[in-house]
Amino acid sequence: MITLASRCRRNIAIIVLAAILGGLVYTIYSLSLRHTSFISGWTLFLIMLALALYNARKKLPFMPWANSSTWLQFHIYAGFFTFVLFLFHVKFRVPNGTLEATLAFLYLGVFGSGIVGLLISRSIPRRLTTRGEEIIFERIPVFQRRLREALEQLVSRALKETRSLPIAELYAKRLLPFFAGPRHFWWHLVQSNRPRYALLNELEAFNRYMTPEEQEIAAQIAALITTKDDLDYHYVHQAVLKYWLFIHIPLTYSLLLFSLLHGVMVYAFIGRI
């Protein structure tokens, strides 16, 4: 079985080789005084088309057309290769026409979102493994509701058994909003536990106004806060992993459409240049 490191080295070697070969072809085209933009443009478009086909391949998992991981490897490395092609195609200049600028913006958007996707798909899974329970994204609201119900039961108990004002006040002001839904999106994304500790500290600070019975309930509430925070952590990270594609894919289709338009325009006006 090929190791992941070996696979990475192999793919980099292939992409470097392809870049060198591409550079050679490009130079030969330049020397023969042909329009290099055509070869770089068509190559770029065809590779982008092949990259976009990955989404179609995902819809056909039962077809024997190589594993999805092989496609992804191609997607990643060919994606990097397109950046080199793109630079050659725009001749290392900032496009100035409206259509060309839009195209360049779209390409950079797709490329950039792809890089972000690669980075998060390599880093976030490790984060998810190290904190909280493994949970299926679609089931998170169910667990949130259960936690909220458990909290309400605890607070009701505190009110019935101890007439606890501190817990009631904390519930109304801080716990109710916290348990209402996913919270602290950005804090979780930057790996900060500040909101969690702030809430726990607040709860602990109220301990001085509580009886031992109330403190026992407060300890259970603290455990719920920790669980809820872990659940939010999973929600935030899984949401990022899922929703980045909602940027990458629409941009890809827009890019392909604009590329087609660009091609039509080029061929429409080629005779007059």
């Binding site: 079985m1 090929i2 190791t3 992941l4 995902k58 819809k59 056909l60 998992p61 039962f62 077809m63 024997p64 057309w65 594993n67 999805s68 991981s69 496609w71 992804l72 798909s121 976030i124 899974p125 490790r126 998810l128 493994t129 493994e134 299926i136 994204f137 899984q238 992993l241 899922k242």
Partner: protein, 589 residues
């Protein structure tokens, strides 16, 4: 709503063309003639078993009856004629093996739009068309494989003849193990094929048949098993017979381990370990080589106040050989007792404790027999090939060091090993492992599974975790598939390549397999008609249930869709039967 009759046991007899006259004829033959009909309960009389669980098959000269390597769900009784057993194996090309039927390219592609929107939709017309399905197996209409050059095969291979009145295939049928030899008809032969449910029923009620099968096991399967063991391969037939005569076979644990497994799972690790029967204990004298015939055994070593698992053994593996060899090497010429030397060169007792995990059928070949047939008479030049001799045992300074040595050899961490053995995931041949450090939780695997199964996912991306690995709730296609025990119709069975699959057409929804599966990997579902409505029992209006599970995408072109759909190489179907090599390779890639 649509209603159909609730499926019943024996709704689908093995052969619908079996007649009462056939049953009477079988009952007139020995050993059926000698069986006491009163020993059988009214619900499953002998006549009923013969009528519903058997079929008479007629073979021409050279017809292959069973093939080596196939998984047997039935045994055979020779009614007339004779058959030949190939003892040294036929080449695969001669066995005429066929790939299981897979969807063609266009049928596979059509799943994209032909899958139903409602879950668990079934074509109920298949349920009433069993005779049509079975008809392909009827005499003269099936694709029977035959040997073209029978005399040539007889010349080139070591074969044994079996005559009328003999049974064969019963060990494979009852032990849920592969056929160990190919059997073909010699001339015209008439055989009674008994599916394993029927054989089990008869064996349970008839003492003579039980003794007969046990004796056959000693005579046939034991020799075969010993012959397959590397250390005995150099022995002649006579020597092998002598080894077999001296070999003790014992069963540790409970065949029905899966019934107690679920309750045991809630107990502490120490309690669970204590309930595993000890086959051989650390520190004891090695009385013999212990060969695992079937089931699994845990190798553990004392650590603190408990035992630490260091490995496990499955079918074909053995224990005690290293210690016996080590001691034999240390023994001085002409002396009968080991001589104690400096550390590392001392005779050693058993290094680990061997326990049955669930159950284990073991063969114990006594130490003197090993010394006589495998090692002696020449110490410098033992009879066993030198390559098979293990290196001397180096006694570790501490248990910790020893465990680390073993774990380093396995290239797997201790927690992982404990999880796999404790939960008996070692039973799997296609255990779904997920590397959570690479899994983006995209659920592409789940969607791929659903698309390949008419919109119904056959696994849940959830399960026990150790470190960054998860064992997902997906059928593991066990080496010891306990789910197959008790299926009244044989709907759950092994395919050619070992996949455990359910024939939806013959499943009666009794839940036996789902209840037996210790891993909760078989699910009962309420089925719907093509119109999306639930299908009901016409008598009770209760929904008709079917058992469902992962089938490793047996009918798909590319193999398991889940593994192929994972973009990040995070999911793998791992075979645990190779001593964790596949798992270690994958983990350490």
């Amino acid at each position: 709503m649509k209603a159909i009759p609730r499926p019943q046991r024996w709704d689908n007899p093995f052969d619908p063309d079996m007649t009462e006259a056939d049953v009477d004829r079988i009952l007139s033959m020995s050993p059926f003639r000698e069986m006491n009909l009163d020993d059988f309960p009214a619900s499953t009389p002998l006549g009923g078993i013969l009528r519903n669980d058997t079929r008479i098959r007629r073979y021409q000269n050279g017809d292959i009856i069973v093939r080596e390597g196939d998984y047997g769900n039935s045994a055979f009784f020779i009614m007339s004629g004779s058959v030949r057993v190939v003892l040294d194996g036929l080449p695969t090309s001669m066995l005429g093996r066929l790939e299981p039927k897979r969807k063609g390219f266009f049928r596979a592609f059509a799943q994209l739009w032909r899958n139903h929107k409602e879950p668990e939709v079934r074509d109920t017309t298949r349920y009433v068309a069993h005779s049509g399905v079975r008809a392909r197996d009827d005499e003269g209409r099936d694709d029977r494989i035959f040997l073209q050059d029978v005399p040539g095969v007889l010349d080139a291979h070591n074969t044994a003849r079996m005559e009328a009145g003999a049974f064969f295939g019963e060990i494979a049928a009852l032990g849920r193990v592969e056929r160990t030899a190919t059997v073909f008809a010699e001339g015209e032969a008439e055989l009674l094929e008994i599916r394993w449910q029927g054989l089990r029923g008869i064996r349970r009620r008839d003492r003579k048949l039980k003794e007969h099968i046990d004796a056959l096991y000693r005579k046939n399967a034991l020799i075969t098993h010993l012959r397959e063991t590397p250390m005995f391969r150099h022995l002649s037939e006579e020597e092998l017979t002598e080894v077999a005569n001296q070999t003790v076979f014992e069963t540790y644990g409970d065949f029905d381990w899966y019934t107690s497994y679920k309750t045991m799972a809630e107990e502490s690790a120490a309690n669970r370990l204590a309930k595993e029967p000890i086959i051989a204990e650390e520190g004891h004298y090695p009385n013999g080589v212990i060969l695992i015939r079937s089931g699994f055994a845990r190798l553990s070593q004392r650590f603190g106040h408990g035992h630490r698992t260091i490995s496990y053994l499955g079918k074909g593996q053995y224990y005690g050989f290293d210690e016996i060899i080590h001691n034999w090497r240390q023994r001085s010429e002409g002396e009968t007792l080991p001589v104690w030397n400096e550390r590392g060169n001392q005779p050693v007792p058993l290094q680990y404790t061997l326990r049955a995990v669930g159950y284990a059928n073991v063969l114990i070949v006594p130490t003197p027999i090993i010394e006589k047939f495998v090692l002696d008479p020449d110490r410098e030049n033992p009879r066993i090939p030198l390559a098979l001799l293990p290196p001397p045992i180096v006694v570790a300074e501490s248990a910790e060091e020893d465990v680390q040595q073993e774990l380093t050899r396995l290239e797997i961490n201790e927690d992982m090993l404990e999880l796999l053995v404790e939960n008996r995931f070692i039973n799997g041949t296609a255990t779904m492992m997920i590397n959570l450090d690479r899994c983006t939780r995209c659920d592409d695997c789940v969607r791929a599974c659903a698309v390949a199964h008419d919109g119904n996912s056959r696994f849940i991306r959830h399960g026990p975790k150790v470190g960054n690995y998860m064992v997902a709730n997906a059928c593991m296609h066990c080496a010891d598939p306990v789910c197959m025990i008790g299926c009244p119709t044989g709907a759950i069975h092994r395919e050619v390549h070992g996949q455990v699959v359910i024939n939806d057409a013959t499943c009666i929804g009794c839940s036996t397999c789902a209840n037996s599966c210790p891993y909760h990997n078989i699910h009962m579902v309420e089925i719907r008609g093509k119109d999306g409505n639930f299908i009901l029992d016409q008598n009770t209006n209760a929904p008709i249930m079917k058992a469902t599970k992962c089938d490793l995408c047996i009918d798909q072109l590319g193999g398991p869709a889940c593994q192929r759909a994972c973009p990040h190489d995070a999911l793998r179907r791992v075979d645990m039967q190779d001593g964790l090599k596949s798992l270690a390779d994958w983990i350490n890639r």
